[in-house]
Symmetry: C2
């Protein structure tokens, strides 16, 4: 299978990457001498991120070629995608050429943000709108507008690339998503111009709040939940009047009559009516927790707020042994067996090892100084099922501390205080530059030795030194 990409900017490059990484050969036509470099950079970004979405390998990459001749570029292509600048005369010419040069069966898609198929094809072309969203290699949405048979054929191909084709019922300037974006853009420019908010404040107003809702549910399903048990009609009766209020500078509004209420509420029932508001709430919350925990890793947006708050939360008191974890088990740690997944026991234990490192002074500053600990071996025993929402605490015993070696034993306890698992772990102190083991700084060694000596009086925990499947 071969895709021809006409126009090699950020959008064309994204299309090239999406096809290429799904096993299609890709030929590019763009007279700009910079196109090859630009597309190469987009594909490099795609290679590090698109395959990371999946727990299986994508097909082997297709072959990427660049062509100075349009006819050659589109020869044998099953999909031809035009992503030239948003100028109608230019698109007329390009799409007309493509329509005559491309194989009869090829889909001819235009990435246009705003033009309708009837605009695009006024020069005799047979293109459909196939409007993607940046980054094209990660975001699934493609708006398809055009003849039904053509858009349905295109939809099948897009699905095979992991995309989400949305066939638009009637052609309209800017399709669907860009109409919403344009409305927000216009309102935002007013806010900036009038000195109400800066660009940064507007971004915060989005990503700290409704942006997180929209990423998983969109507008109407979110509002359905806000209507609570009384549903969408209740929400409409509450916020309908706002259409007459000066809540935006954009004031051309549809008549808020019974017909509109019936239409919106009826469509919302068809969309989400099979799920109760309680179920929707929990789905929303689980999604928010999952996305917010993902954002904690980069510290972006709401993830940064969480990291700052978490740093202020009090550490548990040492209770005989050092308490190295005290937390609640998130919903996302549960698997198909309805209990905490085996890997999450280790995720919690690894965080407990990090906390133990902090306690002996091997903290973020120490690591930034170029020294750290690497785990070389782990042994876990699963004694009791743990569940989402349950409190999980971990205490840690030092089994041995000798030169570069640190041998720890974590006791994982569930909400009822009983032992749910043990994790035995061996770490080596390393130099992060050479990636080889080396002795820890004297202050670290001293604190570790003091704990090891204090714990030497304790009995060796049951299960320590055990191999997998050992009897008794």
């Amino acid at each position: 299978m071969k895709a021809a990409i006409v126009g090699g900017g950020v959008i064309g490059g994204g299309w090239a990457a999406r096809f290429l990484l799904n096993g299609w050969d890709v030929s590019v036509f763009d007279p700009d001498p910079e196109a090859q470099r630009r597309i190469g950079e987009v594909i490099a970004n795609a290679r590090r991120s698109l395959p990371a979405l999946y727990d299986r390998a994508l097909p082997d990459e297709g072959r990427l070629t660049f062509h100075a001749d349009l006819a050659e570029a589109v020869r044998g292509a099953g999909w031809v995608q035009e992503s030239t600048p948003e100028r109608l005369e230019l698109k007329h010419d390009v799409l007309a050429s493509l329509s005559s040069l491309a194989p009869e069966k090829a889909v001819i898609g235009s990435s246009t943000s705003g033009f309708k198929p009837s605009d695009l094809n006024a020069g005799g072309a047979r293109a459909i709108v196939a409007h993607p969203f940046n980054p094209v290699y990660l975001l699934p949405l493609v708006e398809l507008v055009g003849a039904r048979e053509e858009t349905e054929r295109a939809a099948g191909i897009l699905r095979s690339l992991g995309m989400f084709p949305l066939i638009v019922r009637k052609e309209i300037d800017a399709h669907i998503a860009d109409r919403l974006l344009e409305a927000v853009w216009r309102e935002s420019l007013w806010l900036v111009r009038d000195g109400i908010a800066t660009t940064e404040e507007i971004d915060e107003a989005i990503r700290m709040g409704f942006g997180l809702r929209w990423a998983q549910m969109g507008l109407f399903e979110t509002y359905r939940i806000a209507g609570g048990e009384a549903g969408m009609k209740h929400f409409l009766s509450q916020f309908g009047p706002a259409l007459k209020w000066p809540w935006t500078k954009l004031t051309n509004v549809p008549e808020f009559d019974d017909a509109l209420v019936e239409l919106v509420a009826g469509q919302s029932d068809a969309q989400s009516g099979q799920l109760s508001v309680r179920v929707l709430e929990r789905l929303r919350d689980d999604n928010l927790v999952g996305m917010l925990r993902a954002l904690k890793k980069s510290g972006s947006g709401a993830g940064g707020v969480l990291n700052r708050h978490e740093a202020l939360l009090r550490r548990p008191e040492t209770d005989g042994l050092p308490v190295t974890a005290d937390r609640q088990i998130p919903q996302g740690w549960t698997d198909y067996n309805g209990h905490m997944n085996e890997a999450c026991y280790l995720e919690a234990s690894a965080a407990a090892s990090d906390r133990f490192m902090e306690m002996i002074g091997a903290d973020a500053d120490y690591i930034a100084g170029g020294k750290s600990y690497f785990t070389v071996e782990n042994h876990l025993r699963y004694l009791k099922e743990l569940h989402a929402g349950e409190r999980l605490t971990i205490t840690t015993q030092v089994l041995k501390a000798e030169g570069r070696k640190m041998h720890l034993f974590h006791f994982l306890k569930g909400g009822d205080g009983s032992l749910a698992a043990t994790a035995e772990t061996l770490l080596f102190h390393v130099d992060l530059t050479t990636r080889r083991s080396c002795p820890p700084a004297p202050a670290i060694a001293a604190r570790l030795t003091a704990l090891a000596e204090a714990h030497a009086a304790l009995p060796v925990p049951e299960g320590a030194g055990r191999h997998v499947g050992q009897r008794g």
Copy 2:
């Protein structure tokens, strides 16, 4: 510390949960007999989700009380939050009462979506706007509008609750976020009324595309990236003209002159200028991958698209031993040591065990029928560092299969094909109803035994039967 919540709907309940789970005592005033039940349900939702955001425990919960007397409810409160229906006369009365009854030092916040402080306080109250977003216990944003000293004091308290206070520079109807929401709402109602799209199609247009961008970066930083190397001015020159085009029915637009371009581009430089577009792109992509992987767990929105696509991806060919994983290591699997985190080796190995189960017939249907395998013990050796973007393959050898027991050994190989880790795992076949071990179905047992017999001829892998810290 005590917070008084006046009005116990979804928003009041969310405020109550946010304070309570951060260790504040909470008193509620709402004459509606349903309020206690409704607030209880919101708090139940909050208990399963808010603490799951953190890797540490939140403070002990405060005490929740309900009061029929307003004066009693607000006595000794440091924060009083009004969340009554959006009727100005009602808010005048309530806020005036609260201003006279509450302690002088208490913040008096109103959850109003649209009214300005000068509207709210026309009846003699001293309230500020503290406008949160549903669900209040998870979303960080609170828009603060009012006297600077009051809003700054309120901001400090909100930060201690893990929220993100956004102080609005000038009062305006609907503050900031709801102006953007109202613009989208109006445009969406047009689209529904004109038959361009259904409510569901509009939700898909959001959550499959720009919603995912906005959740982490907002509007302007996203567009800065879209401008590419040429930056925000390039983006503005490209999309400025659209302000004159019929891309929305909302047509009152600011003059797109040089002053507006300078203002927007200058603010965007101040906001994100320290990061190159390349760095921003990678941050955006890592966030998208993290959030999308989180959505795969529930199958919501774009997560569902990924699951459907993944199911179509070809499984690797068996290569001597069964190949139980073939995937790319995501960025989010990397830790502070700059390599794959120890727990992710087990996450990959656990998925390999799942795949092995599928191969012998213990697949999703079998599990739905009430039988499965539980892991009881794991041993991991870390032999080589693995990195984000690297290919990871796993092959699996059966060490033993006897009755309920399945003893497996996973070989984890990195991109260069060399052994990076081993994972030895012991699983028991279980009845999911009794949660006790039991023999597998005959077909499963037969397939497992056949593999075990074929593998019996192989040498016992190096490291099998090893305990942590064993010499040699």
